[in-house]
Every structure is written in C-alpha cells, then in structure tokens.
Point group: C2
Amino acid sequence: MAVRLADVAAAVGLSGSTVSRALSDPDKVNPATRERVLKIAQEMGYVPNQSARSLTAGRTDLIGLLVPDIANPFFPPIIKAVQARANDKGKTILIADIDERPGDELQRARLMRKRSDGLLIASPRTPQDQLAELVALQPVVFINREVPGGTSVIIDSADGMDQAVDHLAALGHRSIAYLNGPRRSWSNTQRQKAIKHACRRRSITLHEFGPFEPQVQSGVHAADLVHASEATAVIAYDDLIALGVIARLTERGIRTGEDVSVIGVDDSPMSAMAYPTLTTVHVPGAEAGSAAVDALLALIDGAEPGEVVNLETRLVVRSSTGPAPS
Amino acid sequence: MAVRLADVAAAVGLSGSTVSRALSDPDKVNPATRERVLKIAQEMGYVPNQSARSLTAGRTDLIGLLVPDIANPFFPPIIKAVQARANDKGKTILIADIDERPGDELQRARLMRKRSDGLLIASPRTPQDQLAELVALQPVVFINREVPGGTSVIIDSADGMDQAVDHLAALGHRSIAYLNGPRRSWSNTQRQKAIKHACRRRSITLHEFGPFEPQVQSGVHAADLVHASEATAVIAYDDLIALGVIARLTERGIRTGEDVSVIGVDDSPMSAMAYPTLTTVHVPGAEAGSAAVDALLALIDGAEPGEVVNLETRLVVRSSTGPAPS
DNA sequence: CTGAAAGCGCTTACAG
DNA sequence: CTGAAAGCGCTTACAG
C-alpha cells in the first residue's frame, strides 16, 4: 500500500508520535526536527490516511450539502460559493441531489450526516411536520427557509419586491399581476406577502395567478391569462416563469417592456441574455452559500443553533419593464 | 458520544464480531441472531462510524468529482447524473470546483484523491505536459477529454457537426462561419476538425473566427464579425456564444433564422427558451456522467485503465435556422 | 522536546 | 454459527 506514518518514522529515526506532531501540530516539536520530518515525508510521498485521522480526531472535515435540484439555475451559484468557502476553510463538500422528491430529503440527510461533520440544506422541501427531524441532525444550517429551532440563512424577498412594485408604480402601472410559485414553497409565501403589502400601500390593484411550477412552460401558460386580465405588468415567482411569459408574449406579437412589463426573481444568468433582457430581483445566492458555511462552522465549533442570517434582495432594472401603455 | 458497535453487542449479549457480521455480512450469521441484532441496533439508533469502517475496509465509498465551473450550464446535468448514479451504487460524491484555474486542478485532484476511492474529472483543463500526473492518481476517469493512458468518457462532436453542416447545406447555405472556442480546449479542436471536414466534403466555404471564451459576451462580439462576412449561417462553439450572437443580431434588427441562421452546441436548457429557439447540437452530458461512474467503479474493482467510451451527438433543429436568403 | 502506550470503532482471518 | 484477538493508521494524554 501507500507510505504510512510508521514508514516515515522509521526513515527519519524518530517515533511515530513525533512525526505525527511535526505534521499536524508543528509548534510542539523542535524546529530542526520538524524540517527533517517534513523533508523526508515529502520525499517519500507520504499522505496521511484520512480515515485513520478522522477516527482519532473525531471529525471528518467533510460538510454535506443537500440541494433539491442541481439543474435548477438557482442552485449552482450557491453550490459554487459553498464549495469555495469550504475549501478556504480546509473542508470538502459532499453533495446530494434530492431530485425534487421531498420524501427522500430526510433519509438522504441522515446518510450524509453520518459521513460528515455537519449539513447544509438548501431550500428544504421537507413538510412542516417532519422538519424537527431535520433539525435534530445537528449541526445543520438551512438555506432559503426559516426552520423553527434551526439555524438559517434566509433571503428576504420583501425589499426586492417592494422595489419591484415601486419601479412599476413609477412607470405608471396601476394594475399588476403576481404569478405564484409552488403552493408549499416557503419563498413564495414570503414573496406573495411582500408584494400584497407593497401594492396595498400604493393602492395598486393586484391580480394573482397560479400556483405554478418554476419552469418556463408555466410562464408560457400564464402569459395568456395575464394578457386577458387588465394588468399591464407582471411579477413572476422566478426568472424561469418570467422568461416563459416573455417568450409567449413575443410569439403573440405583444411587445414586452412596451405593451406589457415583466419582472422576474433570481437574477439568474439567463435573465441578462434573454430578449428583451429581464428586469429581475437579484437574489444573493452566492452570499447565502458563504454565509451558510460560516454559520455551520460556528455550529461545529459549539455555537448554539437558532441564529437567522437575513440577506437582502434588490431590483436589477433591464429592458423588460417600461412605461405603462396609456 | 453516539452508540457504538460494542454497546449494541453488550445489549444483545453477543460478541462484537457477530454484531459486525449481522450488520455488514448477514449471510454469515444465524437468521434468528441477525433479526435480534438488527432489531436492537435499530432501537438503540446505532449508526456505524464510517471512519472506522473505512479504516479497516480500506475504502471510503466516496467518489471525487472535479469540474471546471459549476455555474457553467454544461456541467450541472453531468453533476446531477453522476450524483444519481453514484447514489444508486451506494457511493457518495465529493465535489470540487476548479473555478477555471487550470493551475489548481492537479492540486485539488490530489487532495480529493486521498479522501476518496477514485476520481471523476470533467473537462480537465490541465495542460498536456502535466496530464500524466493526473492519470497517475488512479483510479481516475476523465469526462469530455481523451487523455493518453487514461480511461475517458468522451463526446464525439463529429456526428453532430456533420448533421449541422448537412442541415445548413439542405437549407441552401453555401458559406458558413465557425466561431472557435478557447484555444486550448480539447472539444474545440474536435469540433473545428469535424466541421472543416464536413464543409470540404460538401464544397461549402468555411470562415473561422475566434478563439472565443464560452460566454454570451463573446457571441455579441462575434455577431458583428460574422455579419460583415459573406457567411449566411454560423455555428458557434457552444450555446452561450450562439445566444450572444442572436441577442446582438436581434439588437441590430437582423432576423435570426431568416437573414442569418445560427447553430449552437450543448442543447443547454436555455437553448429551448431563447427567442427564437436555438437549433443546437445535443451533447449527452447526463449519459456521460452515468457512464463515467460506471467506468470508475469498474476501475476500482480492478479493471485496467485505458478504456475510451464514446458517446454520440445529434442535431436538434429549432427556429434559429432557416433557408439561406437569396 | 521526545517516546511508549493506549485508544479511536470497526472488520476479518483464525479457531473452535 | 460464534468468539477472542489482532490490526487498520493515526492522535493524544502521560511520563520522562
């Protein structure tokens, strides 16, 4: 097999204890000794066995990350940021894709938990009544959902939604539509509430449609409903739905940004490359990912669960919104 | 701490050996005994310590996956498929994002290798002269690049490119442009070669532009170059570049699919939601991911390195291509 | 600063 | 079919 600690010890003519210390706790060893050990270990191509190290140290330096669907463009930026932050901290990421099957989430979380020092669960889909079992898998940090008793990094839609309504109001829109996301989505509840509030405050008429699945196809469907209503602007649950709306309007010869204004949520890469480019609420997925890693490491180090990190959203204005038609 | 094997053994009144066997090698134990052990282990909430198991078993049941950039839409389908396949086989995925820094790839690969039973490296960016060091990290499977001496799952662009040129030829195009991807990209070399060959065979004039980075912005730039040439159709290195071309053409009032035909490569989700929808060469990323996991498991089980799995591509015709303008 | 020894929690020949 | 014992490769009090 590979070179072991004992092989290095024999080669240097020291005990395993000293070699171990030279490698993992350099301050406890004579500098000269340390140099020799390091040099020879290097020459021999010594690589510590992680399983043995984990067994004695009681930790794996592994972090589990669960996401509902890697292919959903909302998640890659989160995954990427989590990975980067964890790497900086000397941790490695285990990844699990739930493939949008809420029933699998808890079981996959249990499996991941026993291989890692803690869990990051992005947009958990587990129903309310089983949430406690997820929280019990401490240390755990939830991303994009506030979970009772659990540590969460959430993204506050209120600000962004408020800005979106404000933007439309300034453009003269008096009647707008909101396309709801999935019924059980925590984010949708937040967004719906914020938008209702914002419209009421400005005496804007709000028409609601949905629930819709977060897919382009849903937007294609929704576009016709919206166009049949009196709304001159539409805010969609997410960019995918918004892009579907635009595609369908364009197909029907209705000009987005002139005849109808459209706003999405997520600021996913596609929103900048659509035609016309999509006005959307920027959701800081990457920041959420980094913050979640930090919160998890704090938990692993003994912090009390329950902290809620709240990130803000903001409107990014592009070409899909314009003055209300007169 | 948690319940250990010894605790379960004490509770059942059996030796640790028997409990161990009942759990991991049920056939070697009396059925009745097995039942008792399983029942009690379950009741006590016993979960085997993976580090200890790995240390004795000599394997981690972990597979490392390296990707150049999780946020690049080409990779999520691969990651998703790898994860799904690995999960089916009882393996868990460690993920690393190289963030498009070729120089980091080898080092990250080494780190991942010592935590896992084997490596999957998607679209390796490591330069030719260091490739051997990557191959030395056996068991390793490369996805989307053929590496001397290594096991690879590659995607053969030739077929798809041939179909693309065929499609354009049938539409009456006699002069087409190819937008090259990054200079050192293995895929680009393959695609360029295939397209040259296909054009020569049909006596079609080929204009080459680039190299370009695989980004929308590159396409925006390229669009003007193409339009200034005599080409009536353009094949881009990937969908991102193709989408940039379309966006710019639309902006300039040039109708895609009528004045100019555009073809991408990847068949990424965006290609179906662009306007007009993008004709593109479907690249079977998910199939590649599954095949790579299978190849890696075979290597881990002792197969000889060097196998090359070749997957085919095919053209998906949408609305961005049409008859050549007369 | 260094070494001998025990221990982390499992698995696996080897006996019986 | 079951048990005692050794061992996987490290780390860490405990002595010196």
